[in-house]
């Protein structure tokens, strides 16, 4: 039971990550890979505050984690969003790798061993279900917030900017501030997901925020359907549930580990060939 709850909490947290990443890359057209590092900034900020500053309530810590992610994203955006396309990709990758090295080498973040002993805020037998309810509600709120942003006038402006930035600007729209806003909203959501993660698992390791995590979140968005409101939800469920389902087959570990990798690779290749716009995306 606990095991299933943990999977469900993970799915909720990754739904927030995939959904907010979809806002940035799918709708905003901002090709960044650094999304997991904003997840990390939220998680570490919340975790460190929970460990060292006991008088702040947990909700406050999560909000501060989000705020830290927003501040970091605006700092990165101010410089990196002036360039776009491949350059933005490289700049975001550099940002992610640099911060990751900091997390691994600073003493107060726990170094490569990670940050542990984050206090449990909820105790007792209802801990799992309560966390699941909170994370599930946050995921729903996040999916619907993204949907509200991309539908209607603001979403229209976002697609116009992505289609023809010059014409968009010449119609009196400030493309730069719009990009920063989209980026900050998306990264803030990732930071919030980090805060929830820190409280539920009570342990953070820098390795879980590396480029492999970027690839996982990107795969969720692409499989589910980039630029669709509910695609990332489907992607997050599939990519987290499939590996777990495989473990029920009770294969020997020597076969198990490569099987998961092979299944992901095959899935991505199949989708690229057969359905490049994802499960919920229209036929391309």
């Amino acid at each position: 039971m606990d095991y299933l709850v943990t999977i469900a909490v993970l799915i909720a947290i990754y739904t927030i990550l995939a959904s907010s990443y979809n806002l940035v890359i799918g709708y905003g057209g901002l090709s960044t890979v650094a999304h997991p590092i904003f997840f990390a900034i939220g998680a570490y900020t919340t975790g460190l505050l929970a460990v060292h500053v006991p008088f702040i309530p947990p909700v406050g810590n999560v909000v501060l984690g989000m705020a830290a992610a927003v501040v970091a994203s605006v700092l990165l955006a101010g410089s990196a969003l002036r360039v776009s396309g491949d350059y933005l990709l490289i700049a975001s990758l550099g940002f992610q790798l640099g911060l990751l090295q900091l997390l691994k080498n600073l003493e107060f973040t726990g170094g490569p061993g990670g940050l542990s002993a984050i206090p449990s805020t909820i105790v007792g037998p209802m801990r799992g279900p309560l966390f699941l309810a909170i994370c599930g509600a946050a995921a729903l709120a996040c999916v619907f917030a993204v949907r509200t942003i991309v539908n209607g006038p603001y979403g229209r402006a976002i697609s116009a900017m992505r289609d023809e930035e010059l014409a968009f600007t010449a119609l009196g729209r400030n493309a730069m501030s719009m990009k920063i806003a989209i980026f900050a909203i998306g990264c803030g959501m990732a930071g919030g997901a980090g805060g929830l993660y820190a409280y539920y698992f009570q342990y953070l390791s820098p390795d879980q925020f590396d480029v492999l995590a970027s690839a996982a979140i990107l795969t969720m968005v692409v499989l589910g359907g980039m630029g669709t409101a509910f695609g990332p939800v489907v992607g997050a469920i599939l990519l987290l549930a499939i590996p777990q389902a495989i473990t029920f087959l009770q294969l020997p570990p020597a076969i198990m580990a490569p099987t998961q990798g092979i299944i992901f690779t095959v899935l991505v290749l199949l989708f690229l060939y057969l359905r490049p716009s994802g499960i919920l995306g229209g036929k391309a």
């Binding site: 509200t148 006038p153 229209r156 116009a160 600007t169 009196g172």
Partner: protein
Amino acid sequence: MNPVLRTEGLRKAFGGIVVSDNVNLSIASGEILGLIGPNGAGKTSLFNLISGVLRPDGGSIFLNGERIDSTPLYKRARMGIARTWQNMLLFRTMTVLDNLLVGPRDYPGESVMRLAFGRGALRAAEAAMRNRAMGILGRMGLEQTANSLVVDLPFGQQKLIGLARTLMNDGPLLLLDEPMAGVEGAAYETMQRVVRQEAESGRAVCVVEHNVSFIRDLCSRAVFMANGKILQDGSVEELIASDILTELYFGV
């Protein structure tokens, strides 16, 4: 009368290529000014300087007496400089109506804050914009295209949509970059009628065009440019009577 737009000694060069060489130009309200000249004369560059896509190396630009040459592109559009593009730059994944709805100078819906608070006011603003957009499409006989994707329309209609989107900006200055290139038949008539109506409503209009008969039918004044310089500025009749055009288009 004070001109809507005035440039003084406008200069711009890309390396050794001078695209704007001491350009002094003024356009009055209600006037349709034709801008003619060979390819590479600096006509589109002049539009880019006026609208803010390019920063001038020297000289100044005034809109209704206010100096704007260091104002960014998007702010100049909000001040009322509306322009079209030679290659239209329509929003290709969007419908005709949505293309137009990105056009207004000020739009409350494009703020995350307003999205979260005050959605009633937003709906009212959205409805008003929709009416205005449908009105402009109606003037061009294009109401029935409102929900089509722009890429599905014939070229002439796309050109008109480019103009329609620009007209959502109700500012005092309208810059049209080769509105007639590739346009014929009904769309040609519509284009001419709508541009004339815009000038009659008091806008200052400047048209870059190779189609001399379009200039003759529409413009009260014409400016001839070559190598970034204004070589002649006067009535269309004077320009047609002079040797400059004959040399340009017939090489004699």
